[in-house]
C-alpha cells in the first residue's frame, strides 16, 4: 500500500534536507499518511503496544546493566543491590521483569489475532514469517534474561533447557558444552548469557524494522479479511486515526502492566528464584516462566527426549508454514463457521497445555498433555482440511460496506461477536 508520497516540504530547510536525505518524507509516509483500514478493532493496537514494550525493555535493561554484575558469586546480590540501594532500582527491576511477561502477553494476543483474522495469508506470508522469527528471538532473550538473577530457577531452568540440545545426535553434546562454556552451567554460562541477552533485543529491533517494512508494503489486514479496494473509502490516514487509537490501546495496556509492577510484582515469577543458585540442591519442581509452559508441556508429553525436543521446536516452527498449511482462501474466521470453532478449541488447548506445563510430570497430567499435544498439531491438520469443504459465509464487498452497512448487512450476525472498530 506504499502509494504515491503526499509529503510536501514546507520550509526551505525541509526542502534542502528532502533533496539530500528524505528521512522526514519517510517518517511522514510511514507514520502520517500511511492508509490503514478503517475497520480495525482494538486488537490491532497490539503491534504498537509491542513496539512500546520493546523500547521500554531496552531502556530499563540498559540502565539495569549499569548496576548488575554478571558473576556467579555476585549476580544474586547485585540484583538485590538494585532492589534495595539503587534509586528507583526496585521500579526498574520490576518494570523489566514484569515487562518481559507483559511483552509475551501482548505477543500472544498479537499472534492469536493474526491467526483468527488470517493475517498470515497472501500477500502477508513474509510479514508473518518475520513475526515468527521475532517470537523465537524473544523466547531466547527472555530465557537468558531469566538466568541473570542467578536464583534457583535461573540455574535449574538454564540447566534443563540447555540440556535439551544434548538430545541432538552427534553434535548435541558439543553444542551443550559450547553453550555452557564448560561442563556444567556456571560462571562462563552466566557471562555469555548476559552478553547475548544484551545483544538479542537489538537483533529483535532489526527484525521488527523488516516486519514493519513488510507491513507497510502489503498493508494491514482487517477484521473482514477483505483487501482494501478503494483507498479513499476503505482507509483512513494513520495520523490521527490510528495514532490516537493505538495510544488509547497502549494506555489501557499500561494500566494492566502497572497493576502488576506496583501491586503484584512477583505474581508471574517463581518464589524459588529468590533462593540463590545452588548446584547441589534441585528444586522440587523446575518450572520455566509461564510464557514457555505450553511448549514445555509438549516437550514433556513425548516419552523420547529427542522426540520431545523436536515436537517442542516443531510447535513453533509449524507457525511459519501456516500460510501454506491453511487451504482456505477466506482470511477472517468471522466468515469461517467451522474453522472458527477449531480456532477457539486451539486457544483452549494452548491454555490447557500452559496449565499442564506448570504441573508435575505425573499422571494424569502426562496423559492429558499427550492428548492436548495431539490436538495442538491437529489444529494445523484441521486447517489444511477444513478449507477444502467448508462453505464460508458471504464476505462483504468492501471494507467500507462492512462498516457502513450496504451489501454486507447480512453479515451482522457474524460480526456481532467481534469487538467493533468504532468507539
Amino acid at each position: 500500500m506504499s502509494g504515491h508520497s503526499t509529503y510536501q516540504p514546507k520550509t526551505g530547510i525541509e526542502r534542502w534536507l528532502d533533496a539530500r536525505l528524505p528521512i522526514v518524507r519517510l517518517m511522514h509516509d510511514a507514520g502520517v499518511s500511511y492508509p490503514v483500514p478503517r475497520n480495525l478493532n482494538l486488537l490491532w493496537t497490539f503491534g504498537g503496544i509491542l513496539v512500546f514494550m520493546l523500547v521500554a525493555q531496552i531502556i530499563t535493561g540498559v540502565i539495569l546493566a549499569m548496576h548488575y554484575t554478571p558473576n556467579a558469586n555476585m549476580a544474586f546480590n547485585s540484583v538485590e543491590h538494585i532492589m534495595r540501594d539503587v534509586n528507583f532500582g526496585w521500579l526498574l527491576r520490576y518494570l523489566h521483569s514484569n515487562g518481559a511477561s507483559m511483552f509475551f502477553v501482548a505477543v500472544y494476543v498479537h499472534i492469536f489475532r493474526g491467526l483468527y483474522y488470517g493475517s498470515y495469508k497472501a500477500p502477508r506470508e513474509v510479514l508473518w514469517i518475520l513475526g515468527v522469527i521475532i517470537f523465537l528471538l524473544m523466547m531466547a532473550t527472555a530465557f537468558m534474561g531469566y538466568v541473570l538473577p542467578w536464583g534457583q530457577m535461573s540455574f535449574w531452568g538454564a540447566t534443563v533447557i540447555t540440556n535439551l540440545f544434548s538430545a541432538l545426535p552427534v553434535i548435541g553434546e558439543t553444542i551443550v558444552t559450547f553453550l555452557w562454556g564448560g561442563y556444567s552451567v556456571d560462571n562462563p554460562t552466566l557471562n555469555r548469557f548476559f552478553s547475548l541477552h544484551f545483544l538479542l533485543p537489538f537483533m529483535i529491533a532489526g527484525v521488527v524494522v523488516l516486519h514493519i517494512w513488510a507491513l507497510h508494503h502489503v498493508g494491514q489486514n482487517n477484521p473482514t479479511g477483505v483487501e482494501v479496494k478503494d483507498v479513499r473509502k476503505d482507509t483512513v490516514p494513520f495520523t490521527p486515526y490510528a495514532t490516537i487509537k493505538d495510544l488509547f490501546g497502549m494506555v489501557l495496556f499500561m494500566l494492566v502492566f502497572a497493576w502488576f509492577v506496583f501491586y503484584q510484582p512477583n505474581f508471574m515469577g517463581h518464589a524459588d528464584n529468590y533462593i540463590p543458585a545452588n548446584p547441589a540442591a534441585t528444586p522440587a519442581h523446575i518450572v520455566p516462566e509461564w510464557y514457555f509452559l505450553p511448549f514445555y508441556a509438549i516437550l514433556r508429553a513425548i516419552p523420547d527426549k529427542l522426540g520431545g525436543v523436536l515436537a517442542m521446536g516443531g510447535a513453533i516452527v509449524i507457525l511459519a508454514f501456516l500460510p501454506w498449511i491453511d487451504t482456505s482462501k477466506v482470511k477472517s474466521m468471522t466468515y469461517r463457521p467451522i474453522a472458527r470453532q477449531f480456532f477457539w478449541m486451539f486457544v483452549l488447548v494452548c491454555i490447557g497445555l500452559g496449565y499442564l506445563g506448570a504441573m508435575p510430570a505425573d499422571e494424569p497430567y502426562v496423559t492429558i498433555s499427550r492428548i492436548l499435544t495431539v490436538l495442538y498439531f491437529g489444529f494445523f491438520v484441521a486447517l489444511a482440511l477444513i478449507g477444502i469443504f467448508e462453505r464460508p459465509a458471504q464476505l462483504p464487498t468492501s471494507i467500507a460496506d462492512s462498516v457502513l452497512g450496504g451489501s454486507g448487512a447480512r453479515l451482522a450476525h457474524a460480526t456481532a461477536s467481534e469487538p467493533q472498530a468504532k468507539g
Partner: protein, 288 residues
C-alpha cells in the same frame, strides 16, 4: 541429566525420606493472616516491625544471617522507623571484622550504620556443623523465597484481590506449626522435628519460639499492648521478614496509586479524544 530423571529421582528421594504414607503431596495449606501491608493501600505497622526486629535479633539471628540488611536500613522511610541515633547505638553493639590495616592485620571494630548485619557463622560449612548438618537460610529475602501452591482457580483470583502474602502466611504457620507427630508417622530421627506446615512435615529447625520468650515493650499500664505468645511472635517476625525482603514496599504501593490514577484519567481523555477524531469522518453518522 534430563528433567524427567531429576524429577523422578527427587520424588523417589522424598518418598524414601518421609515414607509412602506422607509423601510430598501431603501439604497443609497455611491459613491466611491479615496483614497491614496487604492490598493497594498497604503500609507496614511500625510497632509490629519493631517487635519483629526484637524477636529476630534475640532469637532468629542466632542461627540465620541477614547479610543484605544494613543497620542504616532500619532508619529509612517505610521501615521500622528507628531514629538515626538509635541505629548508630545499635550498630555499635556489634563487632565488625574489618581490615587489613596498615600493618596488614584484620581487626575488629564497633559497627557503623553502613555495615551489614554480621552473620552468625563465617560460612555455610560452619553453619551446618553447628546445626546438625542443616543450613539455616539467610533471612534477607526469605519472605519472597517461601510460598505454597495456590492452585487453580485461586491463583487467577489473586490477580484481582492482590493476594501475595503466601510467604508471610507460610512462615507464620511454620513457626506456630510444631506439634507431636500423628499416629502412624514414621519415628523421628535425631535432628528431625515434626511440623504441620513444612512440606513432608520434617524440619531440621527445632521449635524456635515459646510463649513469653521475648519481652515486648510495655505500654503505659506496665503491660505489653500485644500478647507475648508464639502466635504473636510469629506474625511479628513474618512482618519484619516481609519488610527485609521488600524494603520499598510502601513507596511502591504509594507510587502505584498515583500511576493508576494518572493512567486511568489519561485513558479516559484519550477515549474521548479518539471519539472526537473519528467522528470527523464524513460518513461516520451512518455507521453503527
Amino acid at each position: 541429566m534430563s528433567l524427567r530423571l531429576s524429577l523422578a529421582g527427587l520424588a523417589a528421594g522424598l518418598a524414601l525420606a518421609v515414607g509412602p504414607a506422607f509423601a510430598a503431596g501431603d501439604v497443609v495449606k497455611p491459613p491466611a493472616q491479615s496483614w497491614s501491608f496487604s492490598g493497594p493501600f498497604g503500609k507496614f505497622d511500625q510497632a509490629q516491625l519493631q517487635r519483629g526486629f526484637k524477636v529476630v535479633k534475640e532469637v532468629c539471628a542466632n542461627c540465620h544471617a541477614m547479610s543484605l540488611i544494613r543497620f542504616r536500613n532500619l532508619a529509612q522511610p517505610g521501615g521500622p522507623g528507628f531514629t538515626t541515633s538509635q541505629v548508630e547505638a545499635l550498630a555499635q553493639t556489634y563487632q565488625i571484622k574489618d581490615g587489613p590495616n596498615d600493618s596488614g592485620e584484620m581487626f575488629e571494630r564497633p559497627g557503623r550504620p553502613a555495615d551489614a548485619f554480621p552473620s552468625p557463622f563465617p560460612n555455610e560449612q560452619a553453619a551446618r556443623a553447628a546445626n546438625g548438618g542443616a543450613y539455616p537460610p539467610d533471612m534477607s529475602v526469605l519472605a519472597k523465597a517461601r510460598t505454597y501452591e495456590r492452585g487453580f482457580p485461586k491463583f487467577v483470583f489473586d490477580i484481582f484481590t492482590q493476594y501475595q502474602e503466601q510467604g508471610p502466611d507460610y512462615i507464620t504457620a511454620l513457626l506456630t506449626g510444631y506439634a507431636e507427630p500423628p499416629q502412624g508417622f514414621p519415628p523421628l530421627l535425631p535432628g528431625q522435628n515434626y511440623n504441620t506446615y513444612m512440606p513432608g512435615h520434617l524440619i531440621a529447625m527445632p521449635k524456635p519460639l515459646n510463649d513469653g520468650q521475648v519481652e515486648y515493650p510495655k505500654g503505659p499500664d506496665g503491660k505489653s499492648p500485644v500478647p507475648e505468645t508464639v502466635e504473636q511472635y510469629a506474625k511479628d517476625v513474618s512482618a519484619f521478614l516481609v519488610w527485609m525482603a521488600e524494603p520499598h514496599l510502601e513507596a511502591r504501593k504509594r507510587m502505584g496509586l498515583q500511576v493508576m490514577i494518572f493512567l486511568a484519567l489519561f485513558a479516559g481523555l484519550l477515549y474521548f479524544t479518539k471519539k472526537k477524531i473519528w467522528s470527523r469522518l464524513p460518513d461516520h453518522a451512518s455507521a453503527h
